[in-house]
C-alpha cells in the first residue's frame, strides 16, 4: 500500500470514526447521566437521516440551514420523548429498560415505514459540496466527506466546551457523580435530564443528517449503528466523552483497514478489539469523568 492510498484510507477511517463519535457521545451522555440503557438510540440516528431526506426538497442547497432546522426538530422531539416516555424508565430495572426501549425501536421502525415507506432513498449532497479534490492522480476525495469530518470535529469541540466550560456542563458533571446532592442543592434535576436527553437525541440526529448522503437512507439503518456504538461505549468507558472519542477513532481505523486487509473478517475485527480491551481494562479505557 503506497503512501497516497494509506493517507486516503486514514482519511476514510477518521471520517467514519468522527461520525460514530457523534452518535456514541449522545449514548454515553444519556447513559452516564441518567443510567438508562437506551436501545432506541440508533433510531434517533435514523430519524436524522430521514429528516435529511424529508427536508431536502424544502431547503435545496441551503444545507447548513437544513442541518440546523433538523437538529432543532430532533432536540424538540427528544425533549418531548423524555417527558412522555423515558422519565418513567429511571425507576425500572435494566431488563425492563432494555425491553421497553427495544419495543420503542419496533414502533419507530413502523412509524418510519408508514411515513416514508420501505424503499432505499438517496440523499444528494448540496451543490457546493459536490466534486472532490485530486489526490495526486489516485482518485478524487469528495468534498462532502471533508465537510462531514469537519462538522463532527466542530461539534466535538462544542461539546467539550459546553461540558467543561459552562454552568450547564457543570450541572451535568455534578449530576453524573451525585444526583441527590445536586437535587438537594436546588437544581431541577428533571429539567436537567430532559435537556441532556434532548441533547443526546440531537447529536445522534445530526450524525444521521450528515451521514445521509454518504450511506443513503434505508430501513434498519439505526440498528447497525447502535451496536457499534455500544462497542464504542464499552471500549471508551460509560459516561466518558473523551473515551468515546478515542474509542470511535479506534473503531474507525479497525473497520476501514480491516475492510482492506481482512475483507470478510473485517466485521469481526471491531469485536476482537473490544475483547482485547475487556481483558485489559474491563471498565473501558477512560474509567470515569469527561
Amino acid at each position: 500500500m503506497d503512501t497516497a492510498t494509506f493517507l486516503v484510507q486514514c482519511l476514510n477511517a477518521v471520517q467514519y470514526g468522527l461520525l460514530l463519535f457523534l452518535v456514541a457521545s449522545g449514548l454515553t451522555l444519556i447513559f452516564g447521566i441518567m443510567g438508562v440503557i437506551n436501545l432506541a438510540h440508533g433510531s434517533f440516528y435514523m430519524l436524522g437521516a430521514y429528516l435529511a431526506f424529508a427536508l431536502a426538497p424544502w431547503f435545496g442547497d441551503w444545507f447548513v440551514t437544513r442541518l440546523v432546522v433538523g437538529v432543532a426538530l430532533a432536540a424538540l422531539f427528544g425533549y418531548v420523548l423524555e417527558w412522555v416516555f423515558f422519565s418513567f424508565l429511571y425507576e425500572r430495572d435494566h431488563l425492563q429498560q432494555v425491553l421497553l426501549t427495544y419495543a420503542l425501536i419496533l414502533v419507530f421502525e413502523e412509524l418510519r415505514s408508514l411515513a416514508f415507506g420501505n424503499d432505499v432513498h438517496g440523499v444528494p449532497a448540496p451543490e457546493w459540496l459536490t466534486g472532490g479534490f485530486h489526490l495526486g492522480g489516485l482518485m478524487e476525495y469528495p468534498w462532502y466527506r471533508v465537510f462531514a469530518s469537519a462538522a463532527c470535529l466542530v461539534v466535538a469541540l462544542a461539546l467539550y466546551a459546553v461540558v467543561n466550560r459552562t454552568r450547564l456542563g457543570m450541572m451535568i458533571r455534578a449530576g453524573a457523580s451525585n444526583r441527590d446532592m445536586v437535587r438537594g442543592l436546588g437544581v431541577d434535576i428533571r429539567r436537567l435530564y430532559r435537556i441532556v436527553f434532548a441533547g443526546g437525541v440531537a447529536l445522534a440526529a445530526l450524525a444521521g443528517m450528515v451521514a445521509a448522503p454518504l450511506s443513503s437512507v434505508y430501513p434498519g439503518m439505526g440498528s447497525s449503528v447502535l451496536i457499534i456504538c455500544f462497542v464504542v461505549v464499552v471500549i471508551g468507558g460509560i459516561g466518558s466523552i473523551t473515551g468515546a472519542l478515542i474509542a470511535s477513532l479506534l473503531v474507525g481505523f479497525v473497520d476501514t483497514f480491516g475492510k482492506v486487509f481482512f475483507a470478510e473478517w473485517s466485521g469481526v475485527g471491531v469485536y476482537v478489539l473490544m475483547a482485547i480491551v475487556l481483558v485489559w481494562r474491563p471498565e473501558g479505557l477512560m474509567k470515569r469523568g469527561f
Binding site: 432494555v98 419496533l106 421502525e109 460509560i238
Partner: protein, 362 residues
C-alpha cells in the same frame, strides 16, 4: 430504592446491586400452584395435539416448543442467577450452524450432532462468559450483545457459513444402531415427539438443578452477590457455570430448529432474536420455569396474531407497531408477566390481598 441503584449503576460501574438487573424476584425453586401435576398435564395435552391439528398447526406447535426450550435456557441465566444477557441467540445460532455444517451432504447421526452442537455452543459460552463476567450491570448487557454480534458476523460475512443467505440442511439426522434406524428426525411424527421429549427433559433438568446446592448458590448470587462474596463464596465460577449450561441448552434448541427448518441463517444470531427470547421471559414472568414456557407460547402466538392478515386485515402489515405498543403496555403494566397476573388473580379469589411472592429478599 431501586432508582438509587439504577442511577449509581452508571456512575460507579463497580457497584453491584444485582437486584437492579431484574428487580425483586420470587424464589424460583419455591413450589408453584399444582406442583408437578400441572407441567405433566400440559405435556400430555401437547402430546395429544397431533390428533386435532393440521400439519401446519403441528409445525407451529413444534416451533413454539423449540422456543420454549430456548427460553428455559435463558431463564437459568436471567431468572435464577440474575444475569441479563442480550446475546443469548448466539448459542442458538451456533448450535444450529454446527448441526448443518456437521451434517454435510449425507446427514449425520444424532449421537454425534447433539454433543457436538451443545459442546461448541458451550465452548463459545465459556469464552464469552469469562470475558463478559469481568463486567457488571449494563456493561454486561452490552458486552453479551457485542459478542453475539461477533458470532453473527462470523456467519454472515465469512466463508464459515453460507453468508447472508445461510445454508440448507439436506439430510436430517437419524439415530441408528448398525442398520436399524431407531429415530428419523426427517419424519414429522418422530420429530414432534422428540421435540416434546426434549422440552420435558430440559424443564425437569433445570428444575432439579435449581433445587440442588448449585441452584441455591445461584439464588444467593442473584439476591445479593456481595453478601455471598463477603461470606467467602467465590461467585464467578458459579456464574460462569450457569452461563455455560445455559449456552449449551440454547445450542440444543438450535439443533432442533435447524432440523425443523431445514435451513440456518445468520439472522438466528441477531439481537432481534436475543431480544425476542428476553421478551418471552418477561411475558411469562421472570423467575418461573412455567413462565418461560408460557412466555414462549404467548409471544409466538402474539406475533402470529399480529401478522395474520386473516384476522387483522391491512393492519397485519404493520405488525411491528402493534407488537411494539403491546410490549410497552405489557412491560409497563405487568412487570411480573402472566404468572404474576395469575398470582394476583389467585390472591384476589382466595380473599387475600395481592402480594408479590417475596422469597429471597435480603
Amino acid at each position: 430504592m431501586a432508582s438509587e441503584g439504577a442511577g449509581n449503576e452508571g456512575v460507579a460501574a463497580g457497584s453491584v446491586d444485582v437486584r437492579n438487573e431484574v428487580g425483586a424476584l420470587p424464589d424460583i425453586s419455591r413450589r408453584e400452584a399444582g406442583g408437578w401435576l400441572v407441567p405433566v398435564a400440559a405435556a400430555l395435552a401437547i402430546a395429544a395435539l397431533p390428533l386435532v391439528l393440521s400439519p401446519y398447526g403441528q409445525d407451529v406447535v413444534v416451533r413454539i416448543a423449540i422456543y420454549a426450550i430456548f427460553a428455559l435456557s435463558l431463564e437459568l441465566l436471567v431468572g435464577a442467577t440474575g444475569l441479563v444477557s442480550l446475546g443469548h441467540a448466539a448459542f442458538l445460532g451456533i448450535g444450529a450452524y454446527v448441526t448443518v455444517l456437521a451434517s454435510g451432504d449425507s446427514g449425520a447421526s444424532l449421537a454425534l450432532l447433539v454433543p457436538l452442537a451443545m459442546g461448541v455452543a458451550a465452548a463459545y459460552a465459556i469464552v464469552v462468559g469469562a470475558l463478559s463476567l469481568r463486567t457488571r450491570g449494563v456493561y454486561f448487557i452490552m458486552v453479551t450483545l457485542a459478542f453475539a454480534q461477533m458470532a453473527y458476523f462470523v456467519f454472515h460475512d465469512t466463508k464459515v457459513g453460507g453468508g447472508s443467505d445461510g445454508i440448507f440442511l439436506y439430510a436430517k439426522p437419524v439415530l441408528a444402531i448398525g442398520a436399524t434406524t431407531l429415530l428419523d428426525l426427517g419424519q414429522r411424527v418422530p420429530f414432534y415427539y422428540t421435540v416434546l421429549t426434549t422440552l420435558v427433559a430440559t424443564y425437569a433438568f433445570i428444575a432439579l438443578l435449581l433445587g440442588s446446592r448449585f441452584g441455591h448458590a445461584l439464588a444467593g448470587i442473584r439476591v445479593n452477590e456481595q453478601r455471598m462474596r463477603a461470606a467467602g463464596f467465590s461467585t464467578t465460577p458459579y456464574k460462569l457455570a450457569a452461563f455455560t449450561v445455559a449456552g449449551a441448552l440454547a445450542g440444543l434448541a438450535g439443533l432442533l430448529l435447524a432440523v425443523k427448518d431445514g435451513a440456518v441463517n445468520p439472522e438466528l444470531l441477531s439481537w432481534h432474536e436475543s431480544g425476542a427470547v428476553l421478551l418471552m421471559l418477561i411475558f411469562g414472568g421472570i423467575g418461573s420455569l412455567r413462565g418461560a414456557v408460557l412466555g414462549a407460547i404467548a409471544f409466538t402466538l402474539l406475533k402470529e396474531l399480529f401478522q395474520s392478515e386473516a384476522l387483522l386485515g391491512p393492519l397485519a402489515g404493520h405488525w411491528q407497531l402493534t407488537l411494539g405498543l403491546t410490549i410497552i403496555a405489557f412491560v409497563a403494566a405487568l412487570p411480573r408477566g402472566l404468572i404474576g397476573l395469575g398470582e394476583r388473580v389467585r390472591g384476589l379469589m382466595s380473599g387475600r390481598a395481592a402480594h408479590p411472592a417475596a422469597g429471597g429478599s435480603p
